[in-house]
């Protein structure tokens, strides 16, 4: 049975029912970076605005290694990745019981690709993904590990092992997503840059296509026209390319450039791209040779996000700039509605629980912003006391966030 609580009505079809095939999703899963529909929004969830060591922290568990990757939630399991060792070449996948926090299983692998990263990053930077019956763990070393929910290895790929120049000495962070029975992976860097669609059952490439030779840390997202199949959106310094997830064939392109750090976000009928600030696009209805370039609905260079990706809730887009200022704008017009200064800096992308946005800054401070009124209001300030660079996961009324050393469940 599919619990719709975490899914916006429009996007359940493209991203879960069509995307996650033949699965049995129990509870309100959070299956990949920014959740099932890649929106970061859990519309019906209620997360406590305040918490402390003695209040609203259900459990806190140790992790064996570093990680900028976010947790994912699959039924009763909370899955995280980590990397450890002097060279960060030990790759971990861990499953915890969602209720108790007890470790259910842990599996380790050796990195087969290069593991050097900027000190702020680590090899476990991309958030894993799941189709509800498999876990796809991806690492900066470009190793892809597919496990069943019991931790049994189904397949693995060493994408740098196979394509030896595919790496970035600063580290890779793009989080893969699942569309149907294809895992979309971007391996984009200065030397050997590509995206690939891997068969979720075997790990073999359905397609592999060259991408701009420039370091890129953005993650793919999903677009679907009203009556068509979902498309994978691949962002890079060149812009955004929409590809058929099963064939990799390009359906349309936006070629006016885009950021290589924050990722695009989809609204009900447009795409908001971190490009020249923020640019709203309406992709055409046709595909292939008949496809029109996306219509530019608006652009505002004041809405350029910092590291965090933008998030859309109830017709508003929320963007945090490099100075830590949160701006709310109308997704239809781009008009800036209000601003609130937050305590940054931020690496994590915010998530939304109901009418609240939750921002974790790099010092581990969490600011909860109520967005139900005419102006944003900070209604909670908390800290976990450790560096947080990862994006939280929300499932039902529970939030999961991890540092290099710990994983927390925050819930009443």
């Amino acid at each position: 049975m599919i619990n719709l609580q975490n899914l916006s009505a429009r996007r359940i079809v493209p991203v879960v029912a069509a995307v996650v095939s033949a699965t049995c999703l129990t509870g309100a899963d959070w299956l990949q970076f920014r959740g099932n529909d890649v929106s970061g929004v859990s519309a019906l969830s209620e997360i406590p605005a305040t918490w402390s060591d003695t209040e609203n922290i259900a459990w806190k568990v140790d992790l064996p290694g570093r990680g900028l990757s976010g947790a994912i939630v699959i039924g009763d399991q909370v899955v995280v990745t980590a990397s450890s060792g002097f060279r960060q070449d030990r790759l971990h996948v861990l499953s915890f019981d969602r209720t108790s926090g007890k470790k259910v299983w842990e599996r380790q692998f050796w990195a087969t690709g290069r593991t050097m990263t900027h000190p702020k990053m680590c090899v476990a930077t991309p958030t894993p993904a799941s189709d509800g019956e498999r876990i796809f763990a991806f690492y900066s070393s470009n190793d892809v590990v597919c496990l069943d929910l019991d931790g049994n290895l189904l397949w693995l790929r060493g994408l740098t092992h196979d394509f030896p120049n595919a790496s970035n000495s600063l580290g890779m962070s793009s989080s893969p997503i699942v569309i149907g029975d294809t895992l979309i992976v971007q391996v984009e860097n200065d030397a050997e840059s590509f995206a690939t669609g891997l068969d979720t059952s075997t790990g073999k490439a359905r397609w592999k296509k060259a991408r701009p030779k420039k370091a890129n840390w953005t993650s793919p997202t999903v677009w679907q026209n009203r009556d068509s199949e979902p498309l994978a959106l691949l962002q890079s310094s060149a812009g955004v390319e929409a590809v058929d997830p099963r064939t990799g064939e390009t359906q349309w392109k936006f070629e006016d450039g885009a950021s290589t750090i924050p990722s695009s976000v989809v609204t009900t009928d447009s795409l908001l791209v971190p490009s020249n600030g923020l640019t709203a696009l309406r992709p055409g209805e046709n595909k292939g040779d008949d496809a029109k370039s996306p219509e530019v609905l608006w652009n505002d260079n004041r809405l350029g996000p910092g590291t965090s990706s933008p998030i859309v809730v109830d017709g508003k887009v929320f963007v945090v700039n490099r100075a830590g200022v949160l701006q709310a704008a109308d997704v239809t017009t781009g008009s800036i509605l209000w601003k609130v200064r937050l305590k940054g800096p931020f690496s994590a992308t915010p998530v939304a629980a109901g009418k609240q946005l939750i921002f974790f800054n790099e010092e581990g401070g969490a600011q909860v912003v109520d967005i139900s009124g005419a102006e944003g209001e900070i209604v909670g300030e908390n800290t976990v006391g450790e560096t947080i660079l990862s994006t939280p996961a929300i499932s039902d009324n529970e939030m999961f966030v991890r540092s290099d050393g710990h994983l927390w469940k925050i819930a009443k």
């Binding site: 060792g85 002097f86 060279r87 299983w105 599996r107 380790q108 692998f109 050796w110 087969t112 290069r114 050097m116 990263t117 900027h118 590990v145 931790g151 049994n152 290895l153 189904l154 397949w155 693995l156 790929r157 060493g158 092992h161 196979d162 030896p164 120049n165 970035n168 000495s169 600063l170 860097n189 200065d190 030397a191 891997l198 075997t202 790990g203 073999k204 490439a205 030779k213 370091a215």
Partner: protein, 400 residues
């Protein structure tokens, strides 16, 4: 016959649990070992992992034996099998073949990855194993075991009081013999320096410090990386070569940097949009496999004895010791090493470095010094089967 096979036979005889037949076990392991590039063999390997997940604890030894010369991909499949089997037995309160596993760990001719995995399985049931085994692993073929042993000695040295300076020096010196990770070697070197001892880290790591150099050739708009300039066609150190700014000749560059960094921007010129070639000779005592390990923020290509080995077209994304590892085969006698180092045209402050750090070592990271070196740095820490283990090995070809 490898030790693990003997151990496996003993465990089979001992086991009370029905295991896969030896033939079945071998065929599953063989299926995993066939996994290769681009997902080839993934389905068969996954099926084998599924079949192995029901194997008996006694089967662990044979699976660990399957790591020998397994590819990195296959090793990860095998690792998952071992973890799955061990966890299942531990969760059910069933015993593991601890004696045989410990024997497997201690036999240095076994695959280092498999030995480390067996050790980690044992550590789940035996909290004393680190204290018992690690101190003897200072020169182990496994970098992870060596690191553990070095860390113990560093901690021991650090715990000694000021009135035990001589003892501390001795312990640090001992620790250094096994240190191939830069953080530990640096820490030891700095500690010894405070105690009045100097450490030759260049020899310790096997950095190449003396080069001939020529350039700059053109790399405007990145054209240089794929352009074969004269040194790639013929290595004639007496030749005058047409370059970016006119005719150039080969010169020399030597570094005295503690970590062997050859800094072209400082020692030659802060060229931009440039290609420089560096060449050196390496005298090997015998044919052998080595690794060239690099650190550089610049694009590069490497040739050994005229054979192109690898190149990387990336600029200013960071630099670290052992950033790149390039396997190579050296021949006995003189070997010619040619490097192409490219600088781009970025003007940012953080994009001005034009340097490289390169060393020659064995696959475990232990320096392999040329014949004429006088260093006592160890090498070939992994002993050959049926040969006595060397606790203080001499670098291959090194002379006193």
């Amino acid at each position: 016959m490898p030790i693990y096979r003997c151990s496996f036979a003993a465990v089979i005889a001992f086991s009370m649990i029905a295991s896969l037949s030896a033939a079945d076990l071998s065929s599953q392991i063989a299926a995993i070992r066939k996994v290769s590039r681009e997902g080839q063999g993934n389905e068969a390997a996954a099926a084998a992992v599924r079949n192995l997940s029901n194997a008996a604890a006694s089967d662990l030894l044979q699976i660990l034996g399957g790591f020998e010369k397994a590819s990195p991909l296959a090793a990860n499949y095998l690792r998952n099998s071992v973890e799955t089997i061990a966890d299942r037995h531990l969760a059910a309160g069933k015993p593991l073949p601890v004696k045989q596993l410990e024997t497997f760990v201690q036999e240095r001719t076994n695959d280092p990855r498999a030995r480390r995995l067996a050790y980690e399985v044992l550590a789940k049931v035996d909290s004393t194993i680190g204290d018992r085994l690690i101190p003897a692993m200072l020169l182990d073929p496994s970098p992870e075991f060596r690191r553990d042993a070095v860390q113990r000695l560093v901690a021991e040295a650090e715990s000694l009081g000021k009135d035990s300076a001589d003892k501390a020096k001795q312990v640090y010196r001992q620790a250094l013999t096994g240190a191939t990770d830069s953080d530990l070697a640096k820490k030891i070197s700095e500690s010894l320096k405070k105690l009045g001892d100097e450490v030759d880290l260049v020899s310790h790591f096997g950095f190449l410090t003396d080069w001939r150099i020529v350039g700059p050739f053109d790399n405007h708009d990145f054209v240089g990386f794929d352009t074969a300039y004269a040194p790639e066609e013929e290595l004639d150190f007496a030749a005058k070569l047409k370059a970016k700014e006119g005719e150039v000749s080969w010169g020399e560059i030597t570094t005295s940097d503690e970590f062997g960094i050859v800094d072209i921007a400082k020692s030659v010129a802060p060229h931009k949009g440039a290609v420089m070639y560096l060449a050196t000779f390496y005298e090997a005592a015998a044919d052998r496999n080595v690794e060239f390990r690099f650190g550089t923020p610049n694009a590069w290509k490497l040739w050994v004895n005229g054979e192109f080995l690898f190149g990387r077209d990336e600029y200013h994304r960071g630099m670290a010791i052992d950033q790149y590892r390039v396997p190579a085969k050296l021949k006995a006698g003189k070997n010619v090493i040619l490097l192409k180092l490219c600088q781009n045209e970025q003007t940012d402050d953080w994009a001005q470095r034009y340097q490289i750090q390169i060393r020659v070592c064995d696959p475990s990271g232990v320096a392999v010094l040329p014949v004429k070196s006088k260093s006592r740095t160890t090498s070939d820490a992994r002993p050959q089967k049926n040969q006595p283990q060397r606790l203080t090995a001499q670098a291959e070809g090194a002379s006193e």
